[in-house]
Subunit: 339 residues, 4 copies
């Protein structure tokens, strides 16, 4: 494999991080390193059957374990780290989803506080057919079953936050974190602005698949064996997490109320497109108004996450500010060919 | 064409409706009627060049003219009207989009009131190439141009509201209205709950195309020649506007803040799927959480609109509560063949 | 009483209005008229005992009956009507409050849609001691009782809306309506911008008292005998309902989310104070930031209502743009002296 | 002074804390200790004249310095610390307020992102007359001046957060922090739930006065000499910061959107009153609906803060769950008498 630096890492139970920031790095890596990592599911692996209720088997705040943080050598505030997802593969042939009391979009919560009792707590175990690339839903209250496509993704990836903060791994914000967007799939590069020396990249929260908005608050949660390349882009700041695929530029916004998450994502994509294409802000506003796709990511977490995405083919004169995605795609191909 | 009742209607300037409710019907139609209608653009046709600023050429409240209302014979509160879009074709070879002072998602507004001055008022004229099915964006502040696909749709369709109300045609709510979703395209059936005798269906606000969220508040606005079939489903109520295509069931929610629009749409789709598939509500909650797509429609109007959509192929044991879409598709084929 | 024009009006059951707009005036009055009116409670008088559940005895949309509309002679769009509350007296020695399914701040609703069942429906009958000026709360589930001060007010007062609309009497918006603020008490003048000829003023929804925010959605509802003076201020527009007492200037904002209601009220008060005191907008921003009181009105209705109020004593060089409150106070004194 | 333990503490520049959590205690104190502390203003003392713009003289994230944290001996998760404010006195005869770019309620912000330029940056220096208890506003753009009452308070008081988090001192949340409520004045006891051993109490952000909502985002900021008593209530958890004065019980909620902050505060006060008075939840819901006062605290910070307060005189059969306020008032009297 020549020049590729490869590091394999599977955390021990004590090595998981439960926060972004506030944790010593588990390894130092030079930019361009390929990481082969294992990530545990958001339940820390404790929900294994229909009788494993989150409120009984999980122990707050030990939820959403992160693999990391990785210290990226040379990364300083004002730089950007690029995390390219080479592959994301379920490490088990099943995933779990649940209702969680006072959590989710169609229930009152601790913030949207009502006097109604919480919804019943239930667990769905989904069979994953890794060969046929399917997840099987089996209803609890009837015989119905259906197969949905397996579309593995990471709900959580991020860096240490700014402002001296340490944030729970359940929170999405400008540092990334628990954005829960199905766009975070293999083939995609995620750009994250660096807030502290070394950036301190972590990831976790594998989903066999999820719908847009993660309505009940919990996806098809599973452990993952994932391969990422972590690169460094010096001197380019990134205000909110951005994603790039072969076909799309995407920005994310995480905030409440949901219209603010929308505004952040659209505003950031507009600034990005304006800079890449040399368009005035008002011209970029007009073009995006007609061209943007706006799928929701999560409407259940501490902050809601909205995605704004636009086809590169719709962008006149697109240059690449980051100049990283194509290179990382090539690196990924090289890695996969050598494997 | 045998049994198809066809009515062609092009309003005179005085015949446009500016509200849902509060207006005598312009025609009475039996269920199943095919309507060939002309709709004017949201500017009432007054923005025709880059110098036609909305604040100068338009006259409030005479915005978003609606073609209708049509009185559907036999329609009573508790029923549903099905509006099937057979075809939606631009009636001109250009469309117009603008910024409007204190309107749009990336500006303060009369409700999100700030002390900052409004954004500059600008007009973009888009060329529509009806043969190549393209809309051409031309930047105002540089030479950039780009072609986007022509994807004609209606921003506004609805019935008279409940509760004795009359609402501006700029408002989306449970009666439909100005939802501004790109899903309202040819081939789709829109189900609307009837609130008053005759339902009083109107439509307008043609868009050559729009992005999801209609970020600046204005799509590529143009006049349309559209063909719809209006049908009646007796005894089935519809709480919020629903759409059905060959592949998808879709619910809409219109409210503020945006998370409430999301909740309404997801909740309504859940109830719909639960009834259609015989799933318990919690099973439907789980299935939709993993299967739903959640594109935004508008985040600029008086109420924001969120769409929840699920592939029919992902729904086990799907029956059809409305039993209308397939029939209307067939009617549309018949009509198109006879034309 | 010399120059005072006095009109007494008690509606028959058929004469109540259920909307703002959309209704022929019940009387034409010259500016300055004293109106002695009877208003029915928000339940249309149908909740009279603990067993009268709203869902059983009330008939939608026949809720919140309004006394009016009164056509104010000479009122045109761009003017302001001043409604001065001379006295507000309960017409009965009891009031009623209830929970209403899926309505209120501490329950999910049709917009904040969840899968939880609604709260139980209960009715509290409050004894009103008109002499001692007390309302007696008696708990339903224990023996507890407590007396709160009687502080009569009108939850609803408004004019016909703009934009050709007709709105349910349950809605608060720029035209006034169901603002549900305890500030709407005797001694206060309410300024409302005129949208249609004659303004079409109505009022209703008497409360023996209510807390700020009207948390469960329902105050101590009762019929009222109220005296108001309706005056006309030509050529002065009023964008949002404003109130003036001997000591305070107050603006209201009605919108969702609640921060927008707050922004509207603060922004409007800032503009008002800036104009009255000859302060720059930024100076008024600074002064109000330190001087404003911001009690909530309702956080349960279709729009939420926020109040921004500032002591006149804190306003340097205050002139009176409307020049009406002092005059109306004097007229009220004259009327009361003559009674 | 007999049994009173008194500790005086003025931080050096290096000793200020910029976060809640993440900082070693500056002192360990037994419950009941009287603390005489100096707090610096939110600008870290760097805004001293009209030309000291925040964007030029302040250094992010070194804003809102906190005095503390104090480790309360014996405090464990599940307990409550009671912070009683004995006296709050400006340490200077002037205070400063400013606009801050993209911060405040009547401007777009980083979350409510728009394309408009920020408001101008201005500084107002307020003279404080400590004898006459007045703050003098002087307009920048005209000659207007006015005196408002001096009403000193602390914008920020809190403990280390739960969930392993470290939060910026600019954030209000369940751990307290930057709530910015004028209710935090001398004579009041603030109850804070303990999340980590020792609780780690800090305070700062003195305001000579502020309006409700802190509209422009900045109060009349000044350094303070404050005296507090810090007490410990074992075995009683407190979910959200609560305040008690001689006349009122108060709960706070900090969240976005603002209606969630409202819901949290009202829900928490309801639970508190229900427990104190032996009322069922629905009876407490009804009583509070009619009795509650709902002033806003801030509508500008990372989370908005809403206060729900009810007169003790309106609460039938009130016992005191915390049993601390009366005792602390007595301790304060003792301390003040001995001084």
């Amino acid at each position: 494999m020549g020049e590729l630096e490869v590091l394999a890492f599977t955390p021990t139970a004590e090595q998981y991080a439960w926060t972004f920031g506030g944790r010593a790095p588990i390894a130092r890596i030079p930019p361009g390193t390929v990481l082969e990592v294992y990530t545990e599911d958001c339940f820390a692996g404790r929900v294994r059957s229909a009788s494993d209720l989150v409120s009984e088997v999980c122990e707050f705040p030990f939820l959403n374990p992160q693999t990391g943080p990785f210290y990226v050598e040379g990364a300083e505030p004002g730089d950007t780290v690029a995390v390219h997802f080479v592959s994301i593969e379920p490490a088990r042939d099943w995933g779990a989803s649940t209702t969680v009391p006072l959590f989710g979009a169609l229930t009152s919560t601790h913030a949207t506080a009502t006097l109604q009792p919480p919804l019943p707590e239930r667990v769905w175990i989904w069979d994953l057919d890794l060969e046929r690339r399917l997840c099987r839903f089996a209803a609890l209250d009837s015989d119905a079953t259906v197969d949905l496509p397996l579309e593995p993704m990471h709900g959580t990836v991020g860096v240490a936050p700014a402002n001296l903060e340490v944030r729970s791994a359940l929170v999405p914000d400008a540092f990334g974190g628990n954005m829960d967007t199905p766009e975070m799939r293999a083939g995609v590069t995620c750009y994250l602005g660096v807030n502290v020396e070394g950036a301190l990249v972590s990831l976790g929260d594998g989903h066999a698949r999820q719908g847009e908005g993660e309505t009940c608050g919990v996806a098809v949660e599973t452990a993952m064996n994932s391969v990422i390349v972590v690169d460094l882009i010096k001197g380019v700041p990134t205000p909110w997490p951005r994603l790039e695929s072969d076909d799309y530029l995407m920005s994310t916004g995480s905030a409440r109320p949901l219209e603010d998450a929308f505004r952040i994502a659209q505003h950031d994509l507009l600034r990005w497109v304006s800079a890449e294409c040399g368009l005035s802000e008002l011209d970029a506003y007009q073009l995006l108004t007609q061209a943007v796709e706006s799928p929701l990511a999560n409407v259940c977490d501490t902050n809601y996450t909205s995605v704004a995405k636009v086809r590169k083919a719709y962008l006149p004169g697109l240059r690449s500010q980051y100049d990283a995605h194509a290179r990382l795609r090539e690196q990924a191909r090289q890695y996969l060919a050598a494997r």
